[in-house]
């Protein structure tokens, strides 16, 4: 075509570099997190507060009601409850991070620089993958802190090295899936406030599952919901891995949920981002 003679960029210049662009966007997001640390502090703070609340305020009573091999006295109940609730708190660390992702995506979308990115020849999805990778790294950082605090307040996991590695891999996977969902939620939000409210169900779901009390203690309708919602198999898998107990079907069910959430979130996010003329 004659037009090519005047346009310059050779086909090679038109190739996309999604990995390189994602790494660039990741660096951007990590820098932004460092410049805006109050968000990170808040995101780690919430699960820590819940952990302390549940172990020290509710732990004695809830632990006594757990059933099974009951230790004598309130201290035994509290210790046992710390082990029971820790996986839920660990998962709450993930949902809290994910809420942060939705907020920072919504904030980012209001910034003019996103419009600039859209006019540039870059792998578009890298704007989103940069956020996803940044959030996963942030979640790992928060998880280390929260698990550390949990160990301090009496969490005594039974897992060996293998169990810990499996749990770590599993947590990264869960984070990855939920973060993609949050990226979509952050984009559909018209404001930063909406973005912080939309992922609320994610934060609440562990309560309506086996996170804080066993599901058989719940009324029938709620129990039905609790048993089938995705967070129950996820928590049960995590609990099994950390406490070195059999996880049964829960592992597979949790993995399928993660895959579905990740894929759904990814496709939804990508479609939202590629809308032409969205603003």
């Amino acid at each position: 075509m004659s037009t090519h003679t005047l346009t310059g960029p050779a086909p090679a210049g038109l190739r996309f570099h999604p990995l390189r662009d994602s790494a660039t966007m990741l660096r951007r997001n990590l820098k932004r997190m460092l410049r805006y640390p109050s968000m990170t502090v808040m995101l780690v703070g919430m699960p820590v507060v819940f952990l302390l609340l549940f172990v020290y305020v509710f732990g004695g009573t809830l632990g006594a009601g757990l059933g099974g091999p009951v230790h004598s006295g309130a201290v035994g109940g509290r210790a046992e409850y710390a082990n029971y609730v820790a996986p839920a708190i660990i998962l709450m660390t993930v949902t809290s991070t994910v809420q942060g992702t939705a907020i920072s995506i919504a904030m980012d979308m209001t910034e003019g620089i996103i419009a600039r990115f859209r006019t540039m020849h870059i792998a578009r999805v890298s704007v989103l993958t940069g956020h996803v990778l940044g959030s996963v790294i942030q979640a790992v950082f928060s998880l280390v802190i929260v698990i550390g605090v949990a160990l301090l307040v009496g969490f005594r996991p039974a897992a060996g090295l293998g169990g810990w590695l499996a749990a770590a891999g599993f947590l990264v996977l869960v984070t990855f899936a939920l973060v993609w969902l949050a990226v979509a939620l952050g984009q559909v939000s018209k404001s930063v406030e909406t973005a912080s409210n939309l992922p609320m169900p994610l934060v609440l779901l562990p309560f309506l599952g086996s996170g804080f009390v066993p599901t058989d203690s719940m009324p029938a309708g709620l129990r039905w919901f609790a048993e089938y919602q995705p967070f129950t198999p996820i928590i049960e898998t995590l609990r099994g891995l950390l406490m070195d107990k059999p996880i049964g079907n829960n592992g597979w069910i949790a993995l399928v949920w993660c895959a579905v959430i990740a894929l759904g979130g990814y496709l939804w996010s990508k479609r939202l981002f590629n809308r032409v003329g969205s603003r």
Binding site: T7, P9, D21, T119, M120
Partner: protein, 318 residues
């Protein structure tokens, strides 16, 4: 078509509506490579909408657009690879420093690390941002942010640059600095598509100017051509002696005289032909003229005359 090949931007029949509000109603534009094209129009005329469409940010409802030889609808990626955009509203990362913003652009254009640093340093220098380079952009003044914005657009050395009101909010020195940068870019073969509220700016920079009104181009040409289209142009003749003034007055009936200044104001469109006729007539009578100056209306007059009935209202609805 030859016009298409030598043009950096070619637009035919571009249409865009928001709901039932028609913003662009069959826009036609051609911008030659290596020139500055300026789009003028009242607030809400659709300048930003045009820039957004041409820079792939917004989809058009109808029309053919080629940018840098690529069809906008079919090869948006090729268009993006060739263009740089500085929008009307700031597009910098406020949490990053000025330098980090430029390095971010360098990384996204896949410049080697050293080259990226060099380019960033050079642009910081060129845009007078060296001192502020390590401060977050959120602490910049409006003008500094604007300069950073343009610097970021230039990191990738684009062939076609869209500037939506690039000097709004700049002080006179920064504005002149910006003009010089634009001239240098054009000298290097870059094509500039510029919108502005400062007609003086279009006058200074633009090779061609188009006036947008009611979703269409109502006038297009060089600044001079546009000025000649509207009345108000005249030639002022100053004479050494009252006799000359009297003689000329007798000769050129419809002129207005200024006895104190020994000057005569003759209506004229300022074209070479009419000037030659005028000078020949004076010469024939051997009337001595001390000084001759041509006064064309400025672009403000043109703008007000062309968009007169719509300066305060929005675009037509249908």
């Amino acid at each position: 078509m030859t016009t298409r090949q030598s043009s950096a931007i070619a637009v035919t029949g571009l249409r865009k509506s928001f709901g039932d509000q028609v913003v662009l109603d069959g826009l036609d534009l051609t911008v030659r490579r290596g020139t500055v094209f300026s789009l003028l129009g009242a607030n809400g005329a659709g300048k930003t909408t045009t820039v957004k469409i041409l820079s792939t940010l917004l989809s058009a409802d109808a029309g053919e657009v080629q940018v840098a030889g690529h069809d906008l609808a079919r090869e948006p990626d090729a268009v993006r690879a060739a263009i740089g955009v500085t929008g009307q509203f700031s597009a910098v990362d406020n949490l990053l420093t000025g330098e980090e913003n430029l390095l971010l652009m360098a990384d996204l254009h896949h410049l080697a690390r050293g080259e990226g640093r060099r380019r960033a340093a050079q642009l910081l220098e060129q845009f007078d941002l060296v001192e502020a380079s390590r401060k977050p952009a959120s602490t910049y003044s409006g003008g500094m942010r604007r300069r950073l914005d343009l610097a970021m657009t230039l990191v990738g050395s684009p062939q076609v640059i869209f500037l939506d009101e690039p000097t709004t909010g700049l002080d006179p020195r920064s504005r002149r600095n910006m003009w010089q940068i634009i001239r240098d870019l054009v000298a290097g073969g870059v094509t500039i598509f510029l919108t502005t509220q400062y007609l003086e700016e279009a006058d200074e920079l633009a090779d061609r100017i188009a006036v947008l009104d009611h979703g269409r181009v109502v006038a297009e040409g060089t600044a001079e051509e546009l000025k000649r289209r509207i009345p108000g142009g005249h030639v002022r003749l100053r004479f050494a002696a009252p006799q000359g003034l009297d003689a000329a007055m007798g000769l050129l009936g419809q002129a207005t005289r200024d006895n104190d200044a020994l000057a005569l104001r003759v209506p004229s469109d300022g074209s070479l032909r009419s000037l030659k006729t005028l000078i020949d007539r004076l010469d024939d009578r051997a009337i001595e003229v001390d000084e001759l100056s041509v006064h064309t209306p400025d672009l403000d007059d043109v703008f007000l005359a062309l968009t007169g009935d719509s300066t305060n209202e929005k675009v037509t609805t249908r």
